[in-house]
Amino acid sequence: MMRRFMLWGLLLLASCASERSGGEQIAQADRAALSGWIARVRESHAQADRRRDAAALQALTDTATAGAPSGVDATDAVQARQDLYVHAASLALEIGQVARAAELTRAGLALPPYPGPFRAQLLIVSSRAKSALGDAAGAATDRQAARAMLAEH
């Protein structure tokens, strides 16, 4: 009888130890994924700050479209992606890829409309791109939308 109790106790302890180890592994995996994502976002911005060229533009675009790992708050993820699109579109404008800039701002503005400063900046860059493309009415609409958003917040 005593031996049976000891056996059950050992099995219970082993089960608990196994669950704890699994939980730690998941937490570590999450932490690694989050660190990796933040590092990638940072590096994409840094690369674009160092080199204003098509390769840096592609890195920013790839990171923006890849999205954030699970565990990141939806608002944080949206803001990070908005900013990546802001930087990418600004760079595209700077290197003369105006149509690409307009396309990137459209992608950024298609994200859930979290009304922060990065969304306002997307509208500003969009207005610059539309102005460069000769769409004065569209540019004015974007500027008005940016102004309204900033006035509200």
């Binding site: 976002v41 708050d73 930087h87 400063p117 917040h153």
Partner: protein, 159 residues
């Protein structure tokens, strides 16, 4: 709340009350002198404060109140006065946010606001007038905001 945070909060509230009293008085050379001293004191407090975001919030609020008071006596009108009063009331009700204890605590609204204000001002300036100066200022504030945002993500998700 730590002793340091409590002391910081008390000093901040005392300064807000002093500024509220100043705003209710007609302008004088002595008041202007006191406002300058308040601004200098806020800057000192900012340098000694424990949290970078709160440092910036306190400093920006102090500057905003000084600007609001000057505008008021230059004929800014009731709107500016009420905005200044709202800023003072907001400051009086402000309390420090609890220190983060989990991997991704939310950023407080006041910290978000404090970080957003300079960028929003630069964006509005650019919208008002697209010049090389406003564009440079906007780029500068955007880079600052981006760095703060990324540091904040790092602190909360992968410290």
């Amino acid at each position: 709340m730590s002793d340091e945070e409590e002391r910081y909060d008390e000093e901040e509230l005392a300064r807000a009350r002093a500024l509220a009293e100043l705003l209710d008085r007609p302008p004088s050379a002595a008041d202007d002198q006191q406002l300058s001293e308040e601004l200098a004191a806020a800057e000192t407090l900012r340098a000694a404060a424990f949290d970078a975001a709160r440092q910036d919030a306190v400093f920006e609020r102090a500057k905003a109140r000084v600007r609001a008071r000057r505008l008021r006596w230059m004929g800014g009108g009731a709107a500016v006065l009420s905005a200044a009063a709202a800023a003072v009331l907001w400051l009086l009700s402000m309390r420090p946010e609890p220190a983060p204890t989990v991997s991704a605590p939310p950023v407080s609204a006041s910290v978000r606001e404090a970080r957003t204000l300079p960028l929003a001002a630069a964006q509005l300036a650019w919208l008002d007038s697209d010049t090389p100066e406003t564009r440079v200022a906007l780029d500068h504030q955007l880079a600052n905001h981006r760095a703060q945002f990324l540091n904040d993500l790092q602190r909360r998700y992968a410290p």
